[in-house]
Amino acid sequence: MDWAYLLGHLNYWLFIVMMMTGLYIVIARGNLVKKIVGLNIFQTAVFMFYISIGKVTGGTAPIFPTDMKIDPETVYTNPLPHVLILTAIVVGIATTSLGLALVVRIRESYDTIEEDDILDIETRIAREENREYGDAMGGRA
């Protein structure tokens, strides 16, 4: 067992666990809001991954002193991934809010936010359409 390797990459292991948790929730949960939450966890895992990349061993916060007397000995953490993730967080929030807005509209039209019930309703609609417009491969092929 290489403990230094395992512990030294703790962030990355956690990233994988969190990413998989999120992805599992998205796939396994039937509740539309829970799916969005899963998507959020999935995205947050990626934020953690990026932040971990940016860490430089022994590095400090990437802020220059106000007098701009920069000591060449000082090691700074890479700030670029943080900036990227600020953008990704904004994107994540936009996705979440749009997703939830859609869920609200789905609730208004279908009166449920459970995927199974929605599928039932849609199958019923498709069946009626088949009766009216002729049978063929419809639905979710």
Partner: protein, 512 residues
């Protein structure tokens, strides 16, 4: 590099074209919201779209004439600054996206008024422009993370556009929701891939990444990045097993949105896929992974047949067109999978030709829906007689979808067959022809419905309004035009394939 020096020296408006390309629709979108007048919204959207189409044409001509354009945003020099890097490959996709939007918008005026609630119409056009700006941005940029940001700008607005179909059919909401979930997973996979690439190369500039990968060779991190990027983009492209969002999204979206997305959204994603596969990861590296031979080509073949066969059995014109899109994406991926210059030219030219063909067909479907109220075959019966101009345009575009000689679809399929023969893959050449025969069947079903059945209101002419017919005919005529006048598309496609294969080096670009 004297070209670049003069570019830096004379910073006139013309030098800012690559930025204006994205910026014009991007700024016009909030303008629509701020002004908030429903009557002005369409005008602003059309003006912005027309302007960006003009810019795209100017850029394409400039690229074909004098090679790659590198634009530094804010004057920050790459690789640190964000760079827009436009060669023949992006220029032709930019032109496709901007011109499809411009042609479809006049069609939108009446169609949107009929299909979308009054209070949403202003914001609809703002979303349209945001989507356009996002698609243009992800194609124009040369910065990997920038691709993700623009991808999300276009995706988020696409979800909204799709959900606008809820007034006609509430299933548009679940279609948009499914698309949101899958699209976000795809985009997040893509951003994980970029994270790995950044970890391996320490840069986000695509040209810089390519240079570093070429120098240091590929390691496990880069292979992982490759896998994540291909799967993530594959979701947006709707590569066969990842296509599940597409049929519902295209079927239940408003007609104009289907026409716009069918012609552009997947195409922009395919471009990004090609750019990463060929420019960032080198083709030699692709050989090493053999991902293309073992995964891409079989999946493309499955898509060609499965998509076409499912399309045959549809009873709804829009859903049929959606499945045919999946099949046509198969052709494009097949061209990429050949890994030869001919194959890649075929992919690029089919991307362009299929874009206009699909836009024409979805507009045709939209015009029929405008009169009949639904796109089920049964309610379209005999409409070819009562709406002769619409019907005939659909037939022409349908011929191009099949790939009949004299239409744009023929050129690209011919090139694809040629590429297969060049590689000695006879069975695949035959498969392309065979799946085109399947296209004959599903296009014939539409013709049969439109012309061979008795119309419900016999004898009365009930043509679609002129504002719909003109865009429809422009698109249908373009499919014929590009079937004969192949210099522009073929030249651009070859030049694009050249620059994709040779990386970002400007030496090869400009040839035809």
């Amino acid at each position: 590099m004297s070209v670049q020096d003069t570019q830096q020296a004379a910073m006139t408006l013309a030098d800012h074209l690559p930025l204006l390309q994205v910026l014009v629709p991007f700024m016009a979108a909030p303008l629509i919201v701020v002004i908030g007048a429903r009557r002005l919204a369409w005008g602003i959207a059309f003006a912005a779209s027309l302007a960006s189409a003009g810019i795209a044409l100017a850029i394409l001509l400039q690229v074909l004439d004098s090679g790659m354009i590198s634009y530094h945003i804010g004057g920050w020099v790459p690789p640190l600054g964000i760079e827009y890097r436009i060669d023949a490959a992006n220029a032709i996709v930019l032109l496709l996206i901007a011109s499809v939007s411009t042609v479809v918008l006049p069609f939108a005026a009446r169609s949107v008024a009929a299909e979308i609630a009054r209070k949403h119409q202003t914001l609809f056009y703002a979303m349209w422009l945001l989507c356009l700006a996002g698609l243009l941005g992800m194609v124009a940029t040369g910065d990997a993370f920038n691709v993700f940001v623009f991808l999300e700008v276009s995706s988020l607005s696409t979800y909204v556009l799709v959900s606008m179909g809820a007034r006609r059919d509430k299933r548009a909401l679940t279609a948009a929701y499914d698309y949101l979930i899958m699209g976000t997973i795809g985009a997040t996979f893509f951003v994980i891939g970029i994270g790995f690439l950044y970890a391996a190369t320490g840069t986000l500039n695509m040209a810089d990444m390519a240079a570093i990968i070429r120098e240091n060779g590929a390691d496990r991190t880069i292979q992982t990045a490759f896998a994540f990027i291909v799967v993530g983009m594959g979701l947006k492209v709707a590569v066969y097993p990842l296509h599940l969002w597409l049929p519902n999204a295209y079927t239940y979206a408003p007609s104009v949105v289907s026409a716009f997305l069918g012609g552009t959204a997947t195409k922009a994603a395919i471009y990004v896929l090609m750019r990463f596969m060929f420019t960032v990861f080198r083709p030699e590296f692709l050989f090493e992974v053999r991902a293309l031979d073992l995964i891409m080509v079989p999946l493309a073949l499955v898509a060609m047949f499965a998509g076409s066969i499912i399309a045959i059995f549809q009873r709804d014109m829009k859903r049929m067109l959606a499945y045919s899109s999946i099949a046509q994406i198969g052709y494009i991926l097949l061209g990429i999978g050949f890994l030869t210059e001919t194959g890649l030219s075929a992919a690029v030219i089919h991307l362009f030709n299929h874009g206009i063909t699909k836009a024409a067909l979805f507009m045709g479907a939209g015009a029929l829906i405008f009169r009949s109220g639904s796109s089920f075959y049964r309610s379209l019966e005999g409409l070819g007689r009562t709406m002769p101009f619409t019907g005939f345009a659909i037939v022409i575009a349908g011929l191009s979808l099949i790939g009949v000689p004299g239409t744009a679809g023929f050129i690209s399929k011919w090139l694809l067959v040629q590429a297969a023969i060049e590689k000695g893959w006879w069975p695949i050449a035959l498969a392309v022809v065979a799946s085109s025969l399947l296209a004959v069947i599903y296009v014939w079903r539409v013709v049969e419905v439109l012309y061979m059945k008795e119309p419900k209101s016999a004898g009365t002419r009930d043509e679609a309004p002129v504002s719909m017919l003109v865009p429809l005919w422009i698109a249908a005529a373009a499919t014929v035009y590009f079937g004969f006048a192949t210099e522009l598309t073929l030249g651009a496609a070859q030049s694009a394939a050249d620059s994709l294969m040779s990386g970002f080096s400007p030496v090869h670009a400009g040839g035809g």
